[in-house]
Symmetry: C2
Subunit: 285 residues, 2 copies
């Protein structure tokens, strides 16, 4: 059996009791380490589980899935995923390959950012589709996120934006030369996300949002030191929320007064918060 085990969001104790039982009895344990991260390293997990953990990078999962699945028809293999196995990234290729080999697959659910974002005080019922934001390069500034936000905004809903992470990436030069030298990991910050959002609005000028649109910058959601900053996109361009992971919620116009009462305590600047709320969200205006 291939088990996809959700690890939750923060540390080694966020695994479920059910998940931990699987990890303890599995023949091999892989840790998917390229689409998200916990706040503790592999060593901490190994000492908590009392057994070795094999780090699975993108290359291994995408090119050597048969290595991971080796023997899973007879024994249990655990594939650990930060958050929930059905969260932002579903390991469809691995699951489909297992099915081709007649290996049964089972998921052990856990918390994901999609519901933990409720810690902002925003109602999960008021969120539209989740959107990804990737690192822009000089020549590549994918803006499909802009259309997705427009769709959510058209029906008044909040948008959760999940921010890019780059782990074990090669530079173009190293890739061209076939050198397996990797760049240091990079995690997009709320500042970078807000800047990229304004860059695209500035280019397209379709008023999907503006410099004074309200958003909540979120850092390390689900951990003891989680942090929120509510401000205009312009303000969030300068708010340092510390270590990864970050995400951002752009408020929909249907935001409710009860949500306001909760999020205003995260306001970067109470005055600009009230101004933008009045301009975009106050139903009495």
């Amino acid at each position: 059996m291939l088990y996809l085990v959700g690890l939750g969001l923060a540390d080694e104790t966020d695994i479920t009791v059910k998940g931990l039982e699987v990890v303890k009895r599995a023949e091999r344990v892989y840790l998917e380490a390229y689409t998200s991260i916990l706040h503790v390293g592999k060593e901490k997990l190994e000492s908590f589980y009392g057994r070795p953990v094999i780090v699975a990078d993108r290359e291994m999962v995408e090119s050597s899935s048969d290595e991971i699945l080796e023997g899973a028809d007879k024994a249990d293999i655990a594939f650990l995923v930060v958050g929930d196995p059905f969260g932002a990234t579903t390991h469809t290729d691995l699951v489909l390959r297992a099915q081709e080999l007649s290996i049964p697959v089972k998921s052990i659910p856990n918390a994901s950012i999609l519901n933990a974002i409720g810690a902002t005080g925003l109602q999960l019922y008021n969120f539209g589709q989740t959107v990804s934001m990737v690192f822009f390069t000089e020549n590549w500034k994918p803006a499909s996120f802009y259309d997705r936000i427009r769709e959510n905004a058209s029906i008044g809903l909040h948008t959760l934006m999940l921010l890019d992470i780059k782990v074990k990436e090669q530079s173009l030069e190293n890739m061209a030369r076939g050198r397996k030298v990797y760049e240091p990991p990079r995690y997009m910050t709320v500042m970078q996300c807000a800047q990229q959002m304004l860059e695209i609005e500035d280019e397209k000028k379709e008023q999907v949002y503006a410099q004074d649109s309200l958003a909540i910058g979120c850092a390390r959601v689900g951990a003891d030191d989680q942090q929120f900053a509510c401000g205009t996109l312009k303000e969030l361009c300068d708010v340092d929320l510390g270590p990864p992971l970050h995400s951002l919620v752009l408020l929909g116009k249907r935001a409710h007064e009860l949500e306001k009462d909760y999020i205003k305590k995260f306001a970067v600047n109470e005055e600009t918060f009230e101004q933008s709320w009045k301009k975009y969200h106050d139903r009495n205006q």
Copy 2:
């Protein structure tokens, strides 16, 4: 400290290691038992935790929150919530009351239906706002869900519908006479949800969906015996998916071929599935 501890979706082992530590050391442990249910009873939880659990019904949480919070300024109180503390129902009143009393509050996240629904094979990125469906009575058929579905459908997104549960409800007569006699619990089924959806479409005739619209009936998501049935709304009116909890996903037109490959194995009837897919979801048509 007041801890809101997510229990996950199925049984006693779905609690996280972190959550279990809190439960073991807390002064008192309450189980919120009116917005969702696990597949195991209070006794199973008590024997797993090795301690008594107090069932908190709606009346207690809404009218006697100070009883729950008693002493939480000095000791730890655990308030257990099926799924994730920020899932469908947020216990805002309890949290706000704790804050008034200067009692710190902390949440221990867990899986919720909002991400576990990924087990259908549908991409979580393609879901719009989540919608609730309540039991209709002869004179009360709230149809706001219809407008929410229209909004999601207008941008091609799936809609997850969470189905009503009625636990410890009084009949109007017993309520009027002040008799604390309660009706047996009721959990809405996929059949009832599909019927109510078609009843409203039949009344409004705004073609937000139709009898042959594709949906997935879901039962006991996250448990070993979880079950899915993909069919037209008309077909789902007659599909018995067994014990609760049930939920339903109405497919958005932007559904992808990869999603089709996954969900077709749940088809009630392959022929009608293909017909409806071709009619509503095939991008080449």
